[in-house]
Structure formats: structure tokens, C-alpha cells
Symmetry: C2
Subunit: 249 residues, 2 copies
């Protein structure tokens, strides 16, 4: 174990922050760390919008489902899939790149690029003693988020990353058993083994919630997932993504 | 600056490795670090297949476009978008989750989840003195990759991560100017500013290639991108992804 791995393993989302803004230097270090991540064929298909304006953070917090820890954080980063830059390049170089930019393959590339960068940002922030929480809730209403952030075509805000000085100290949440996530040589387990692993994990998660809530909550992971996924959410997404010029062919 | 940020900023892809395999402990630390990353609503929608078998690595290296540094690395991790686990959950809990699992929204979630985990794995490996390279080339022929790795429905191998002891010491590749990637409050630059930033970056990148190749290579970034994107690649992807049960509605 080294300091880096200790930082990675100590991760837990922070949802309560002190009223203290990040400095310009902190923001720059976080952004540079994000940019240092690998990028598919050097395409750099993402951008980051930093929001510090209180009213704008409040507006985004509401759009994300009233997540007050967006509004009250030290800085709010929005990570976007971005192929707009490559539309500008098409103009500069006098070529037509639309077939490529509209492909599902390049949509995947931009999502992966943005996420690798975001995770570097998260790790950089945590290494500075800051807390983070990803905000997928932004995807509740992307049309509005795009308006607020004035994004052009071929840019999609994927999620936020709220960063600040932690005002809480939650425990680390237990992940799925390694044997359920990591397979050797081939995708191993049959469905029966899978179920046994998930049953064992259910017990672990129940215990975690039980202890954390003084016996008030007693969730199983599989039940939690079933209930979350039973009502499909954000079903406007396919059409929206295509309208923005992605994932069309 | 701290040790974590130094590790992040020192990243460069390694494409030549010593002939030395990773230990079980190293692999486990890397996988546990991957799992510690944030996951959307705790869904954990990914899995990792580790390949150490020499013939299998060779087969995957060929499928990825003869990338010998896959075959000769210390371990090869394949990161997969995985909602198969949630099909098993549907069975366990006696509910129908297909509408949700087939949505573009959940496709995005599984790509983002897998990528956050992968970047943690990459950072963990680098912190141990190992080198890494992402292998997007796996997407050249996913049908075959799925066969080799025996993945079930609703699992898509997204990319590989080849990890090992570096046998080269390349320089850090300069990223886009911060002002082109990071925007304050709104997505700022107009296209003219954008072009100026990209012209400046072209000069920096030309210089980088020039120095690195003793004057043999003199690429501009925008030209490199235009030439890469002019011939669309992997256009089978949309259909393939839907066939695997993702991104359908």
C-alpha cells in the first residue's frame, strides 16, 4: 500500500460541505489532473464547465433534484462529452467529419474520455483533503442544463462533480465481492454462482445500512436495484442525445 | 502538490514492457482500487476480465490491431459495461427490468461506471511503479472479443488496460490549453477564440513531435484529428450495442 492507493480505497461520497470556496490554484490543479488522464487516440473529446456563481449552482442543484450539496459545495464541475471542438477542426481543415462524429463509436469515446478525466479530478481533489460527490441527477433535465450552461451542439453535460471541504465523515460503502466483478480468463460465473455471491453481498449491505442507521434501514442490494430499475428513468435520453448530434449511426 | 497529484500528472502511456508478470497481490490491489470508484446510484454496472494466458493475450492483441504490448505486458485487464448482473437480479427479485436496462440512459451509466473504475485501476498501477496503456483497439472486432472472453448478453468489453513493468520512458504528451477545455460559468469561447487556441496548441504539439522524433515528424493536432476522423471507423457499433441489449430505447 502507498499513499495513492490509500487515497483511492478511502473514497466515500461527501454530501455536506463547509461554506468555503476552492481557490483558483486548487481548481487549476484539479483541471490539470483531469487533463492528464488517457484519451482515446489523443482525441480529448470532453470539456469541463466550472460553476462558482451561487445562483447558478442553486439552479443546477434544483435541476438535479434539489441536491443541496451542489449549491453548498466549494466548487461545481460539470463534465461534458464534447465533439464540438472537432466540428471546429472540420472547418479549420476543410473536411467533413460528421459521419464519424455522429457514430455510436465516437459517442462511446467521448463518454469514456470524459469519465477518465473526471475520475482523475475526483482523485486529485480527495488527495487535497477535499470531498467529492458525482451528480448524475443533472441528467434529469439536460435540455435545461444545456440552456443554463450555454453549451453548443455536440456537447452533452454528462454529470457534475461537487467538490468542497467535508462537513461529515461517512464510512466506506462495501462494494460487490471481488469474485462477482473480477473474472479470470473468461467471464466465469454461471447464474447460480452469481446468485450465491449476490445473496452473500445482500447480507453485508444489510449489515452496513443497519449499523449506519441504528437499525432503521435494512436494505438488500438486489432489492434496492430492482426497485430503482423497475420504473425506467430519463427515457428522453436516446432522442436527446441524437438531437445533440451524437449516437446517430 | 502531493504524491497523488504527482502520480496523476506524470502519466504517459507505456507501450513496451519487461517480461515479468504481475503478482496475485498486485492484481487484487488494482481490482479493489477500481471497485472503490464512485458508481451511479450504487449500480456497479461493470465487470473486469483479467487475462494472463499467453495465447489468449496474443489472440486479443491481434484482434486489437497487432498491438504487441498487449501480448507482452504483465497483465491484461478488460473493462466491460455490465448489466447482465441486473438481469440476474430481475430473476432473483421476480421483476421485469428490461425497459430500464435497454435504455440509452443506463447504457451511459454503464460506460461511465466502467470508465471511473478503470481510471482508478490505472492510477493504482502507476502508483506501484507499473506502466499502463488503454487498448481501445479491442473495439475493432467486439463480436470476436466477446467470443474469446465468453461474455453473456448485456456485457460489452469497452477497452483493455495493459499493465506491466515499463521498458521505456517516454515523455508526457502536452494536453489542450486549459482555456480550451475548462470554461467558467458557461461554455465560453466563440469559434474564433477556439480556432486561435487550437492554432497555438498545434505549434506546441508540432514541437513535441519534432523533438521526440529528431525532426522526422511534424504533425499538427487539428490535422491529425481531421485525418483520423475523415474515415469513419467501427460503424458496426450501433447495431452491435443494440444486439447486446443496450442503448435500444
Amino acid at each position: 500500500m502507498n499513499e495513492v492507493i490509500n487515497t483511492l480505497l478511502a473514497h466515500r461520497s461527501i454530501r455536506k460541505f463547509e461554506d468555503k470556496q476552492l481557490t483558483k490554484e486548487q481548481i487549476e490543479t484539479i483541471v490539470k489532473s483531469a487533463q492528464a488522464a488517457s484519451t482515446s487516440s489523443f482525441i480529448q473529446a470532453y470539456s469541463i464547465i466550472g460553476v462558482s456563481n451561487k445562483e447558478k449552482k442553486q439552479e443546477l442543484a434544483e435541476l438535479a433534484g434539489n441536491q443541496s450539496y451542489v449549491e453548498n459545495s466549494g466548487h461545481f464541475f460539470v463534465f461534458c462529452a464534447d465533439l464540438h471542438r472537432h466540428d471546429v477542426i472540420a472547418e479549420m481543415e476543410g473536411v467533413d467529419l460528421s459521419e464519424s462524429l455522429e457514430s455510436t463509436e465516437k459517442y462511446m469515446v467521448s463518454l469514456i474520455d470524459a469519465s477518465l478525466a473526471a475520475q482523475n479530478a475526483a482523485i486529485a481533489a480527495e488527495s487535497m483533503g477535499l470531498g467529492i460527490c458525482y451528480i448524475g441527477g443533472l441528467r434529469n433535465n439536460l435540455e435545461k442544463v444545456c440552456e443554463v450552461l450555454q453549451t453548443p451542439n455536440r456537447v452533452i453535460p454528462l454529470f457534475g462533480l461537487t467538490v468542497g471541504y467535508p462537513a461529515q465523515d461517512p464510512g466506506v460503502k462495501p462494494r460487490l465481492p471481488v469474485s462477482n466483478v473480477y473474472h479470470e480468463e473468461t467471464y466465469e460465473p454461471n447464474n447460480e454462482q452469481f446468485k450465491e455471491q449476490l445473496e452473500a453481498y445482500n447480507k453485508e449491505i444489510s449489515q452496513y445500512y443497519y449499523e449506519r442507521t441504528n437499525g432503521m434501514r435494512n436494505d438488500k442490494w438486489t432489492a434496492q436495484m430492482a426497485s430503482m430499475l423497475e420504473s425506467p428513468k430519463r427515457m428522453y435520453m436516446k432522442e436527446f442525445v441524437e438531437k445533440k448530434g451524437f449516437n446517430k449511426k
